[in-house]
């Protein structure tokens, strides 16, 4: 009898029984207590999450980003989180001009050089090279049994850009912590100081006579100042609700208001004649305010051996950009603690009211215009796969690989002449690889 039980037990062992669950039953029988015993411990050691990510667009931008995040929980549930991010970016980025049948010459935004784009090619400025260092700190602490406050700051610096921000957030728990309401505010101040200065809105890109004094004078005349800034205020209110033992949902509303220099100093618009030939390139001009509303909802459902994480975001702003984002992750959990997580993301946005792929000669200049495809009508999707495994002493390792596809779409403006023969809305593919180690 005993022998048979042991054999059965061996078979169970192979499929990794839920040791904790079975042990709880055994303990309840021994101590005559209820099954709702819990354990709540934490230690004061620093925990680290380190990650390195490589982002690679075919023929365009390559970026490598490394993160070291550390957090520590103190005796009374205060949490200190610190994060250092370093990223390096090199490669080529679309300058906004349209492709042409013939080669086009452009002046670099710095005024220190020129580059030629072959006929039929989407114009890319290949001089992007920047390194960014970012430091983030956040302190969270309970104020009472139900209130928690959090405050943090962020400083980020790259060659031509600086950002400093602060935020604070208050949460209140209700209904045995099954419902949590939160409200937060963040303020950010950014300064951009592009090499070559800030171009005047709609100033023509100076190309002819490169190297001459006349060129230098004309280039200087096309510039406004050396730097400019913007200020952002974000407000966020959120609700987190535990639905049942296996499900939790979160809903947020956020409002963001930016004021200041919102134009991209590196982007131009082609001015084309009636046959579609580019006659000149004008620096873009965007409004100096933008306010966004975002609604975000996320739910997580645990099936025991897998977990489904879905989220949706709707964003709308006064530039008339509306966007929808769907994100689905399905984590398959193996008994060994390993997991596999496929990921799908769909994103679709409408164009800003002032987006136009090019300007036409003889047209009256609009107040604002930008040919940056990132504020045009755009659909993107991401396909990803993550694999994670536990390591010794509670450490963990995970890897993920994602494929990102961007498909800019026509805003409906009819193309004509030679523009019919070139690709105005070039698609873009990128690969993202990341390794994360937590200890």
């Amino acid at each position: 009898m005993q022998l048979i039980e042991t054999t059965e037990q061996k078979q169970k062992q192979k499929t990794k029984p839920n040791l904790k669950g079975l042990l709880t039953t055994a303990t309840c029988a021994l101590l005559g207590t209820q099954a709702h015993a819990e354990v709540n411990t934490s230690d004061d050691k620093w925990r680290f999450d380190t990650a390195i990510m490589h982002y690679n667009e075919a023929d365009r931008v390559t970026a490598t980003e490394a993160i070291i995040a550390a957090n520590k929980t103190y005796g009374n549930d205060e949490v200190l989180s610190l994060k250092l991010t370093i990223d390096a970016l090199t490669g080529a980025s679309a300058n906004g001009a349209v492709a042409q049948p013939d080669a086009q010459t452009f002046t670099r935004p710095s005024g220190n050089g020129q580059y030629i784009v072959e006929g039929g090619e989407t114009p890319l400025d290949n001089t992007f090279k920047d390194t960014r260092v970012q430091l983030t700190g956040q302190w969270t602490q309970p104020l009472s049994d139900v209130f928690t406050i959090s405050a943090g700051g962020n400083f980020s610096k790259e060659y031509d850009y600086m950002s400093i921000s602060g935020n604070t957030n208050l949460t209140r728990d209700f209904n045995q912590k099954n419902t949590t309401l939160s409200a937060g505010i963040a303020y950010a101040y950014d300064v951009i100081e592009p090499e070559g200065g800030i171009p005047k809105p709609f100033a023509e890109m100076v190309i002819a006579g490169f190297g001459s004094d006349e060129f230098d004078q004309a280039f200087a005349d096309s510039r406004l100042t050396g730097d400019d800034s913007k200020a952002t205020v974000d407000l966020l209110v959120g609700l987190t609700q535990v639905i049942n033992r296996n499900m939790i949902v979160q809903m947020n509303y956020s409002y963001s208001s930016v004021r200041g220099y919102l134009t991209d100093p590196f982007k131009v618009l082609s001015v084309v004649d009636v046959n579609g030939y580019a006659q000149s390139y004008l620096h873009e001009s965007r409004p100096d305010t933008r306010s966004k509303h975002a609604f975000y909802a996320q739910s997580k459902y645990h099936f025991g051996h897998s977990m489904l994480d879905t989220s949706y975001r709707y964003m709308t702003d006064d530039w008339e950009i509306d966007s929808h984002t769907f994100d689905v992750r399905y984590r398959v959990l193996f008994a060994s603690g390993h997991y596999l997580e496929p990921h799908l993301r769909f994103y679709s946005q409408s164009a800003a009211e002032f987006y136009q792929p090019f300007l036409q000669q003889d047209d009256v200049l609009p107040m604002y215009a930008s040919a940056d495809y990132r504020i045009g009508e755009l659909d993107t999707y991401t396909l990803g796969l993550q694999y994670g495994m536990p390591m010794d002493s509670g450490n963990s390792l995970s890897m993920r690989l994602e494929y990102y596809h961007q498909a800019p779409k026509s805003d409906g403006s009819a193309s004509f002449g030679v523009l019919n023969d070139v690709e105005l809305y070039e698609e873009l593919d990128a690969l993202i690889a990341q390794v994360t180690y937590s200890f």
């Binding site: 099954a35 850009y161 099954n178 950014d190 975002a294 964003m315 993107t380 990341q434």
Partner: protein, 80 residues
């Protein structure tokens, strides 16, 4: 007759149980503190991984016109 009566009673009890469980399901979302075992798992955290979320926010902030929503995300860079 008696059998029929018993059957009706059974149906009544089943229906009552269903209605009660539906009502209590709607009026009291959430779990007792000792039922948080599943919610306490790493994969149920919001967000699952802060580091992954930060990297994603950075990519999509620089490639698309929308950002944030989940938290004060993205920004802080002159991404091109």
């Amino acid at each position: 007759m008696i059998k029929l009566f018993e059957h009706t009673k059974q149906v009544l009890v089943v229906t009552l149980v269903l209605i009660t469980s539906l009502l209590s399901g709607c009026s009291s979302l959430g779990v007792e503190p000792w039922e948080r075992d599943v919610l306490a798992k790493k994969e149920m955290a919001l967000p699952t991984s802060a580091v992954d979320a930060a990297l994603d926010d950075h990519i999509y902030f620089s490639k698309e016109a929308s950002s944030g929503g989940r938290s004060f995300g993205g920004g802080g860079c002159g991404c091109n």
